[in-house]
């Protein structure tokens, strides 16, 4: 068990309840660099492992504002500045007619920001990750729940962490090679 060759220590659980409980106890025990994996979203699990700042809403807000401004200014500039055309006697800057496209552009930019912002903040796409080296981890997308303590955690020590995880009564414990 050489510490620098190891990415972390992973425990496997049978149920969402067990994983949430284990995550809470691990975090309370002072382990900060941990992560939990589940086959479906579990409410409150992210908070248990110390994740509190979700930046996705901010990204979407900024995207929406940029989209709306782009939409309106584009129409204003094209219709009133660059090439004003008299159509049916309407003023070049006929703002009520510009609302629809402004709205659509707001939605478009905000939606694109939501998807690509989420992926970027999650560091995806990432086809390879050390956790995939654990054969049993394939079940994380089916019906098993995993908790990992990363070796970069200051409290991490192979034997001690193993004993700690053992105390959580997991189904199995695996080392994650890096």
């Amino acid at each position: 068990m050489k510490r620098e060759r190891m990415y972390g220590m992973m425990a496997e659980f049978d149920s969402a309840t067990a994983l949430v409980e284990a995550a809470r106890r691990t975090h309370q025990a002072g382990y900060k660099k941990i992560d939990a994996y589940s086959p479906f979203p579990i409410e409150g699990l992210a908070e248990e492992i110390g994740f509190h700042h979700d930046e996705v809403p901010l990204v979407v807000l900024i995207g929406g504002i940029i989209g709306g401004c782009t939409g309106y200014l584009m129409q204003y500039w094209m219709s009133a500045v660059d090439y004003p055309l008299n159509i049916g006697g309407k003023p070049p800057h006929s703002w009520p007619a510009f609302i629809v496209i402004t709205f659509e552009m707001t939605i478009l930019f905000a939606g694109i920001s939501a998807v690509f912002g989420m992926l970027a903040l999650n560091g995806l796409p990432m086809p390879y990750h050390p956790v995939f080296n654990v054969p049993r981890f394939a079940l994380a997308s089916k019906d098993r729940f995993f908790l990992i303590v990363f070796s970069s955690d200051p409290k991490f020590d192979p034997a001690g962490t193993f004993d700690f995880l053992q105390g959580l009564e997991p189904r199995s414990i695996s080392e994650v090679p890096s």
Partner: protein
């Protein structure tokens, strides 16, 4: 058994039949894609749909060679089948977004078993819809003029026209629908990646899953993004058919120039969309044995939505007729008379029968829970909604203000080939979809199971 899972006679049908676990749900849905061999029926169905798609390409190819003169469109009816079919298809797409976004916001968890293929339906319907305006412009190789790009001519699109609003609305709708569908697929792609045995399948699903590993942090951001996207898609879907209705309502043609159009178009869109959802769901659940996931509850709820939106549509027809009389405008009054007694009276009366009278059978509980009856009623509604668009487009245009400019519209065989061809293309895409992607969202189904609940300490 949990409260919501009891199956006594009086209780509502369950969202998912009891007895499933995370493992069996995963197994059952992913097996359709990964291990189940394609049946002869699938090959036959796909073959027919594929041939119809080829017919579409032939009809479009000939159109490009000859021009729109091969269609029945002429003056005064310059908007024929192309616009009728465009509105029909885009309306069908609306149910997918309603199910995936609006019902998500309303916490209707029964949507979890039908949202995936309803979204696929949306995407394919929008693809079919998008063909029509592009080939209708006369010189389709210049269709990109619709977009504001810096051209050497120095001119820009006319932003005061609803037609250009429509370009933005529909292209935004197509983009957002595709993104929504895609992010919904990511966790399920990871499931297929981990379960596929064929190396090509592993690589393909692995790439599509973006390396998803189900981390709690990722799920948190994922759910936020999904919820926000649903919140954005909800006003978007309402705006799309509103803008489509502006294409008509902003014009001064009698029969078009009315403020009831936006809500009545949106209701009609959802009406026809749910009919298409049922026409797809009923055979699919039967063939792939998914009655446990798409239960009677889903069929009943869809039937209720159809009943409600159908009544809104009926109200729309009523108000149109009322305004024809109440406005005192002789042209509006004539439009009403012309619908009821003019040369297109048969389509109009058929429309009333298909959209208003026959769907009233859905009040009967027994029929709401009969898949065969629902399938037939849905087919009738789809025909009715197509006729509605035909009436709006053709009958309004063919006799407007001046008797000297009246005329008739007769679709040609090219019109029919193009229309039926898009149905083939739509079905071909559905056939491929059910074989290549999980047609029910696996991870959202897991959240419906009783074991997904986190019990307090």
């Amino acid at each position: 058994m949990d409260e919501q899972y009891k199956t006594t006679v009086d209780a509502q049908a369950p969202v998912i039949e009891p007895g499933y676990t995370f493992g069996t749900v995963t197994e059952k849905i992913s097996a359709i894609v990964l291990t189940r061999p394609a049946s002869n029926g699938w090959f036959m169905g796909f073959g027919v749909a594929f041939m119809l798609t080829m017919m579409l390409l032939y009809a479009i190819g000939y159109l490009f060679l000859k021009g729109v003169g091969i269609w029945g469109v002429t003056i005064p009816v310059g908007w024929g089948f192309a616009i009728v079919n465009f509105v029909w298809w885009i309306g069908i797409g609306h149910a997918g977004t309603l199910i995936s976004a609006i019902l998500l916001l309303l916490r209707q968890s029964w949507r979890n078993s039908i949202n995936r293929f309803a979204e696929a339906m949306t995407l394919f319907a929008v693809a079919c819809a998008g063909i029509f305006p592009a080939i209708h412009v006369g010189r389709p190789w210049l269709a990109y003029w619709l977009f504001p790009y810096p051209s050497t001519m120095g001119v820009w699109p006319q932003f005061r026209s609803p037609l250009i609003w429509d370009v933005f609305a529909v292209s935004t709708y197509a983009t957002i629908s595709a993104l929504f569908w895609f992010i919904g697929l990511i966790p399920d792609m990871a499931t297929l990646r981990d379960r596929a045995t064929h190396p090509i399948a592993r690589i393909a699903y692995g790439m599509l899953s973006m390396g998803w590993r189900g981390s709690a942090r990722h799920w948190h951001r994922y759910e936020t993004a999904y919820l926000l996207l649903a919140g954005l898609a909800t006003p978007l879907v309402l705006s799309v058919h509103t803008v489509v209705s502006f294409d008509f309502a902003v014009g001064i043609v009698p029969g078009w120039h009315t403020t009831i159009f936006p809500p009545y178009f949106v209701a009609g869109a959802i009406y026809s969309g749910f009919a298409m959802v049922l026409m797809l769901a009923i055979p699919i659940r039967k063939i792939y044995g998914l009655e446990d996931f798409i239960t009677e509850l889903h069929l009943q709820n869809a039937a209720k939505v159809m009943l409600a939106t159908g009544l809104i549509v009926a109200y729309g027809y009523g108000i149109e007729a009322f305004m024809g009389w109440y406005s005192g405008d002789r042209y509006d009054a004539f439009t009403l008379w012309n619908r009821l007694h003019g040369p297109y009276a048969i389509p109009y009366w058929s429309l009333l029968i298909c959209n208003i009278f026959i769907p009233q059978v859905l009040w009967i509980r027994k029929l709401r829970s009969s898949p065969v009856a629902l399938f037939l009623v849905s087919g009738v509604i789809l025909v009715g909604m197509w006729l509605e668009r035909f009436i709006i487009v053709v009958v309004s245009l063919h006799r407007d203000f001046l008797t000297s400019s009246w005329g008739m519209y007769y679709p040609t065989r090219w019109d029919w080939m193009t229309y039926i061809g898009t149905i083939g293309m739509f079905l071909a895409a559905i056939f491929l979809f059910v074989r290549l992607l999980p047609m029910i969202s696996i991870f959202e189904m897991r959240t419906l199971l009783p074991e997904a609940e986190v019990k307090g300490e």
